[in-house]
Amino acid sequence: MALTREQLAQRVAKELRDGYYVNLGIGIPTLVANYVPEGMDVMLQSENGLLGMGEFPTEETVDPDLINAGKQTVTAATGASYFSSADSFVMIRGGHVDLTVLGAFEVDQNGNIASWMIPGKLVKGMGGAMDLVASAQNIVVTMTHANKKGESKLLKECTLPLTGAGCIKKVVSDLAYLEIHDGKFHLVERAPGVSVEEIIAKTEGELVVPDHVPEMTF
């Protein structure tokens, strides 16, 4: 079975480490915050200018001056700090964030990512995504493996305008966890109940499949 949104988030959460500073993109990546393993502390960075994002507020604590990069009202965790957007991207561009999680339309076997623009549709802007992918050492892309027509989104070469070039090394799709190196996708884990054959069929890019592909655990 393909992973649900919640399961995607749960699998990505396994990439967290105690003491990590983490930037979570909008959508499924945001859900990762719900699956921080017990006994582990992570600090969430929000690129508008917050390190230490807490839970959503209550009606009593909601504050219009405290939002995240998705423009949602949030709270600040203990030990949080506020700073300008320029200083926020000193953190990001300077490679100080330990893990970045974001979605994508397409990823290709050379680590290129397309996530912000579909020609012919209205272009809303890239926000901070280009900065995030250009600078982070450790990026996890989470996405569906194929589109609704069944066409692969893990490609030999991205067809959409890029968000970043040669920067993606890890992909958690709804079918598999894959790594990208040496110009190829490498299948590492498959979603529980998903066959290697289905993953092969839905991966357009060059895919290296080891003899044994374990099922994901959460």
Binding site: S46, E47, N48, G49, L50, E55, F56, P57, T58, E59, V62, D63, P64, D65, L66, I67, N68, A69, G70, K71, Q72, T73, V74, A76, Y82, F83, S84, S85, A86, S88, F89, I92, R93, N112, M117, L122, V123, K124, G125, M126, G127, G128, A129, M130, D131, A134, S135, P161, L162, T163, G164, A165, G166
Partner: protein
């Protein structure tokens, strides 16, 4: 402090000298930390042909969205503009020009503009449409794009507190692009929630020193929330 009293008492004075076709840099992220009264004044002034530099373009009927109603903005330099139907309409009809800029690059362009740095290399956007036509260069095995700085005729800033000398303190994430905007305007106008006397703000914790600020006005703020999300 005669020569350092930056306080003005009305919006006419606050935006005196702002005319058609000028470049205006506006602080804020979404609707958070925007100079609401100064934007409202730009609307009633009826100035046109503006180039606006701001991370976002407001929403229909609020923030910079207000200026779209009478087509006052000619060009928008922003990182994300997707919250606004009127914006979309004017963009598709060609009435509005947009220069999309990655958020970190935009923030750094504004800082550089205020800091006398005309251009800098950034890894952001290399290999993407953003780098097209721009100089690229390798440093330590990684590719970078040369980006030029931004300044403006007017910078419109929202702060929490100011003293009469224009020293500023921002509040929480309402800081966002405001500190950089404050440094990058030929004339910087700041709308604040509270004005205090010099010496009342801790010199160790002033976010923006008064040297960047030309005018301070006390505003009233609706602080509209774009995405109200509460703990269930």
């Amino acid at each position: 402090m005669g020569g350092f009293n930056k306080v003005v008492s009305n919006y006419d004075e606050a935006l005196e000298g702002l005319t058609d076709n000028m470049t205006v840099m506006v602080g804020g992220f979404g609707l958070c930390g925007i100079p609401e009264g100064l934007i409202g004044k730009m609307k009633t002034m009826g100035i046109h042909g503006l180039t606006c530099i701001s991370n976002n373009a407001g929403v229909d009927g609020f923030g910079l969205g207000l200026l779209l109603e009478d087509k006052q903005i000619k060009k928008m330099i922003a990182s994300y503009v997707g919250e606004n139907a009127l914006f979309e309409k004017q963009l598709l009809s060609g009435e509005l020009e947009v220069e999309l800029t990655p958020q970190g690059t935009l923030a750094e362009k504004m800082r550089a503009g205020g800091a006398g740095i005309p251009a800098f290399f950034t890894p952001t956007g290399y290999g993407t449409p953003i780098a097209e036509g721009k100089e690229t260069r390798e440093y330590n095995g990684k590719m970078y794009v040369l980006e030029e700085s931004l300044t403006a005729d007017f910078a419109l800033v929202k702060a929490w507190k100011a003293d009469t000398m224009g020293n500023l303190i921002f509040r929480k994430t309402a800081m966002n692009f405001n500190p950089m905007a404050a440094t990058a305007g030929k004339i910087t106008v700041v709308e604040v929630e509270e004005i205090v006397e010099p010496g009342e703000l801790d010199p160790n914790h002033i976010h923006t020193p008064g040297i960047y600020v030309n005018r301070v006005i006390k505003g009233t703020f609706e602080k509209r929330i774009e995405q109200l999300t509460l703990t269930k």
